[in-house]
């Protein structure tokens, strides 16, 4: 089966790869581009740890056919840090103990970024709704919600 050429923007940089028919975006990112930040959890759209932003919109990379992102912009957790500094959301996750095993963290951070990009000062219910597609089996969610609210509050008062 012939390979399909695919070009898109990955964290602000143009990338060009060849994919097999039916390859999902998560496999393309991890195995062909080497961006290991989106994780494979369930492959069913149930866990959210593969979440990425496509043209700024939260999507599940495991359920995205890779070739559908041709010409579009894909953001992953790898693009979140700002130079040597952590993104405020990453800093808040560390400060509020919002990561234990860390497996859900990439998806949680992307879901939180999708929320704050659209709504810089969400309330608690909006935060809960925004991460409702992301499963965490360690923290009980409260530290994650508090971390996101801390960033939102910090921005609101800044």
């Amino acid at each position: 089966m012939s390979k399909i050429p695919l070009q898109f923007r990955h964290n602000g940089r143009d990338v060009a790869i060849f994919v097999d028919g039916g390859t999902n975006l998560l496999v393309a990112l991890r195995e062909l581009i080497g961006d290991m930040t989106p994780k494979f959890g369930c492959g069913q759209g149930g866990c959210g740890t593969c979440s990425v932003l496509i043209d700024g919109e939260l999507h599940l990379s495991c359920l995205t056919l890779a070739e559908t992102v041709g010409g579009r912009s894909v953001e992953t957790l790898d693009g979140m840090k700002q130079g040597p500094n952590l993104h405020p959301l990453q800093r808040a996750f560390a400060d509020h103990f919002a990561a234990q095993c860390g497996y859900c963290t990439p998806g949680m951070l992307m879901a939180a970024k999708a929320l704050l990009d659209r709504n810089p000062s969400p309330n608690r219910d909006e935060v809960i709704e925004a991460i409702s597609g992301n499963i965490c089996r360690c923290t009980g969610y409260e530290p994650i919600i508090n971390a996101i609210l801390a960033v939102a509050g910090g921005r609101a008062s800044a």
Binding site: G22, G43, G45, L65
Partner: protein, 272 residues
């Protein structure tokens, strides 16, 4: 991976490709087809797509609304004129799934999914499909009954008449996990009122049979009556008639039969 992806510019070309290849599946949002591919479903050897703007069109200005099959739930939620469909759209997935999942795909979503279709069934929607020999409109109930045999056709759009008031259309999804989770049962009721009496009641249930079904006995109990306590009790006690729920991880068939009347009573009496 041995999958061939065929992308077409028009829906009719895509429909043609689907109708001639039994192992082809149409890919829209990806929440069903990509999941099947990830699970190693070898029955799919061709994935068909169409980049046809007609498939993502929303016409919500008049009394009858039409949603292209490729309209996502996020877009339904962003449309003020579609407020009556916001509760079913919001009850699906998390934000990522709502950015991806589509109205047309939901028609094929197996239990415990397919909640939006429950709402469309109560609203007596019409499904526009295109096969190898042109397009036609099918009542949603008929479409669902023959769902397993729809493989060779492409859904173009769904349309329904806007309910007369917010009271006339009600929706309720019972899930164990909030705000997101698969359906234990899902209920929708369309109760047009004419001269103080219900005329044309439609009750639709999800997760109470292999596909979304109408609760015809409950509809009969409501028809021509005013929505009082006695009528509601009669409809609630008739809710299980004709249902055939199954056991799954979210609930047993027995549990579903026990609670469907309770939740229908709450839905009809306007309780939270």
């Amino acid at each position: 991976m041995g999958v061939t992806v065929k992308t077409f510019t028009s829906a009719s070309e895509a429909a043609g490709a689907l109708s001639t290849d039994r192992s082809a599946r149409y890919l829209c949002g990806g929440t069903l087809v990509m999941r099947a591919l990830n699970e190693g479903d070898v029955s799919i050897s061709t994935v068909v797509r169409a980049q046809d703007q007609a498939l993502t069109r929303i016409d919500a200005s008049g009394p009858r609304i039409t949603l292209g099959a490729g309209v996502t739930f996020a877009r339904v939620l962003a449309e003020r004129d579609l407020a009556f469909l916001h509760a079913p759209a919001r009850s699906i997935g998390g934000p990522a799934v709502r950015n991806m999942g589509t109205v047309g795909g939901n028609l094929f979503a197996p239990t415990p999914y397919g909640d939006f279709t429950v709402a469309l069934l109560a609203l007596d929607a019409t499904v526009a499909v295109q096969g190898g020999f042109g397009s036609r409109d099918i009542p949603i109930e008929e479409f669902l009954q023959a769902r397993d045999r729809q493989a060779g056709t492409l859904v173009l759009s769904v349309s329904c008449t806007r309910p007369a008031s917010t009271e006339a259309f009600r929706y309720r999804k019972i899930a164990r996990i909030k705000p997101k989770g698969g359906s234990v049962i899902t209920l929708a009721a369309h109760l047009p009122i004419s001269g103080g009496r219900i005329a044309g009641a439609r009750i639709a249930l999800g997760s109470m049979a292999p596909t979304q079904i109408r609760a015809r006995a409950a509809e009969r109990a409501l028809e021509g009556r005013s929505l009082d306590a006695a009528t509601i009790a009669a409809a609630a006690s008739a809710a299980t008639e004709g249902t055939s729920p199954s056991d799954n991880a979210l609930g047993s068939a027995w549990y579903r039969r026990e609670i469907v009347g309770v939740h229908l009573r709450r839905l009809l009496s306007g309780q939270e």
